[in-house]
Amino acid sequence: MVADFGYGVITIAFLVALYSGGAAIYGERTKSADWIESARRAMLLLWPLISLCAASLIYLLITNHFEVSFVYEVTSREMPTYLKITAWWGGQAGSLVFWSWLMAAFASLVTLRKWDRDREFLPWVIVVTSITTAFFLSLVVFYENPFSFFWQGPNGKLITDAAGNAIKGMLAPMAGASIAIPQDGNGLNPLLRHPGMIIHPPMLYLGFVSFVIPFAFAIAALITGRTDDRWIRLTRRWTLFAWLFLSCGLVLGSRWAYDVLGWGGFWGWDPVEIAALMPWLTGTAFLHSVMIQEKRGMLKQWNMLLIILTYSLVIFGTFLTRTGVLSSVHAFAQSAIGPAFFVFIGVTFVVSVALLIYRWPDLRGETEMKSMLSREALFLLNNLLFISVLVVCFWGVVFPIISQLFTGQTVTVGPPFYQTAVAPLFAGLMLLMGVAPLSAWGHSSLKTLGRAIWKSAVAALVVTAILSFTYTNNLIALVGFFLVVLVLLVTLQEFWRATRARSKATQENFALSFWNLFGRDRRRYGGYVIHISMMLMAIGILGINLFQVQTQGTVSTNNSLSLSGYTVKYDSVAQFPGPDGQQVTRAVVSVYQGNHYLGDLYPRIDYYPTEQQNMTIPGNRSTLKDDLYTILVDWQPASTNGATFKIFVNPLVNWLWIGAILFLFGIIIAAWPDRDAERVPARVHHVNQTESKQSSAAD
């Protein structure tokens, strides 16, 4: 009943989304206010409808309706209720509903809040968001229906196809069939039952979906011909929110990998990780280059291209992360919805680029770039580097397919490929973070830049020299640390200079001046905080990539393993049932540095009998200097027989997480609403000097 209701509602929602998009196009073509109003109302109806569908799905999940195939696939009786709810996005079909639900919510937010102000763009924004929602709903309705049932024949046997897979559907596949009700479900993969993994997908999705809003405004700008920077100003905060959530999702995913997967790292250059990173790269480039358009009226075409690319990569990322193509690059077409995704990405990309080409002459820059060292030229270089990283990532993902096509031999590239190709590009980006804040808009010369930077550069060299004597003689590390120190010094110097100037001018005390600085130009100083956080993260990444050491061995109780100054003594092992139906095997090891006792660690293995899967959870001692990361690999029942441990020392990796927290903080500063954000002139159709000045206060 509830499943039929849910499926009925989602089908209606799909039709409403189609209607909304169609009515908005027709209304704009015929200049009919009634049709546009009708489209708007239809769009506002979408979110309540999808919410109803989601509520039905959640009801089925928490009440163990295993006859519904999706419920069977992602939950089991033993799972606690909160996990059953979050299983909503734990499987493909449910996560498509989740995506549409977010999309409808954001689209409603945009039209409800700013309908009068953004009247000229919004009909087209409705078109873009409705079509996107309709696409995801069509996948739910036609391909990946979370409400479909299992069926059994009159003999009580499950009805399957020739390959032995259960036939699922809303209607009986043959006469006399009845709904089959399994006694228990498969359960959510234990690896995914981690708090980080529960909020990681929604974070990524919030990021993905928020990026659709600036894209929709960009398309609206292209169609209406309102090609000045208004669409950028209107969606600036959406872009920042998208970036915030996407970044948050990436960080949570890395932290999850570090905490749960037990291989001592946090980023494996897996196609799925890359899928989430690619829209982040174009989004980051976009965030930077829109500033040039706002300040100098340049790079308009480029910005359009970046947001179109970001949208395509968002859809592509959803496809890669959520369609079971994770296992290998061969499986791209495995899921039935693969071709649908490719057609949708292809069509939207071609249409968007066609619109861009149509408006190309209107998007010419207002000024020309003159100096190679001007702020705008360095921003452009930053963009090129981000796009280069994107190209490296994209190449790595598609290379196996290309090599298969041209040579018949599949050749893959692994993490070393990405590391060697991406490292110089990131070094370039770091150098730019050091130089660009010191360069001026319009024109800078080597002389002016040199004068601004030489003190920081010399200080960074001195620090690097000290490090080369005391810490490492690894050349890559030293180059990295030099850049880190340089950027930190330049950025802090900027803060110092601005604070001092403000303090002098306003007679405020120093702390107050520093605080008010953020209020004066949130984007700039939020951006600087982000730069600092990036450097902290770089310290962590350099540390774990270049200096990680490991050892492994089997020891009996009271014996120990040693690694770079640490001694890990095996004390005992115990087995007990865990809260989640799993069998926990937990070792106790004590950690010493020399003879100094530092504390105990508890590496453990959780065994999930239903899923027959082990989960290796490290015992980790984290300090600013390094992490001691211990993994229980294997153990014998009689403790004298010993247990096998794998131990990593991950130098400096904690700075990665500290940087990540500061990073999120920096984005919040940059995105914090201005007091007069609402003071934007409504329904202005002609650009003039006064308007562009006023609207610079917009969000």
């Binding site: 295993f66 696939e73 992602v74 499987g91 493909q92 299992f150 059994q152 009580g156 046997k157 499950l158 399957t160 020739a162 390959a163 032995g164 897979n165 259960a166 089959a180 009700i181 399994p182 006694q183 498969n186 959510l188 079971g324 296992s327 290998s328 061969h330 495995q334 020309e368 770039m369 003159k370 190679m372 090129l384 280069s388 190209v391 490296v392 190449w395 031999q409 599949t410 050749v411 893959t412 590239v413 692994g414 070393p416 490929f417 990405y418 060697t420 190709a421 590009l425 492994q552 089997t554 293995i605 027959q612 899967q613 082990n614 290796t616 690999v633 294997d634 014998q636 096998t644 794998k646």
Partner: protein, 159 residues
């Protein structure tokens, strides 16, 4: 003149990036082969970095926890997705590969802890090299269990 500067700069950057990608690809390319393909080219591929995939044969898994030496056999599975689909999906293909005594098998030696997912009929992807005795020495071992969460048939239907 001003434009020229930027064009030259852009071309230089483009060239650098292309060089970077190609040299990194060349240095880090791994040939992805099936057990059959590797056996057929065993002489030309000896010592080369190769990625090979196969179905884990559960009975052959031997693990010495003291020395952390892991040995097992993998059986040939097709890499072509169409072929896999035609044979009823990955789980069915892995199962068929393991029970078929006539399939080509490859012995794998791996040094390190036994991964949690190393089970009968799991798909194993190994990176390493083939020695002159036809034994594959894996530096890296990746395991994928067919996601039963999405594919499986409920085996206990009530009522």
């Amino acid at each position: 003149m001003g434009r020229m500067k930027f064009i030259v700069g852009g071309v230089l950057i483009l060239a650098a990036v292309i060089y970077l990608i190609f040299s990194a690809t060349k240095a880090n390319a791994e040939y992805f082969m099936t057990v059959d393909e590797l056996k057929a080219k065993s002489t030309s591929m000896a010592g080369q970095d190769v990625r090979v995939s196969g179905a884990v044969v559960g009975d052959t898994i031997q693990y010495n926890a003291k020395t952390l030496t892991l040995a097992f056999d993998v059986a040939q599975v097709p890499s072509d997705q169409k072929e896999v689909d035609a044979e009823g999906g990955l789980a069915a293909v892995l199962h068929a590969a393991v029970i078929d005594p006539n399939r080509a098998r490859l012995q794998i030696i791996y040094n390190g802890p036994k991964p949690d997912l190393l089970k009968n009929e799991a798909q194993a992807i190994m990176t390493g090299y083939l020695d002159s005795n036809g034994v594959f020495h894996a530096d890296e071992l990746l395991l994928k269990c067919p996601t039963k969460y999405q594919e499986a048939v409920p085996n206990q239907v009530g009522e």
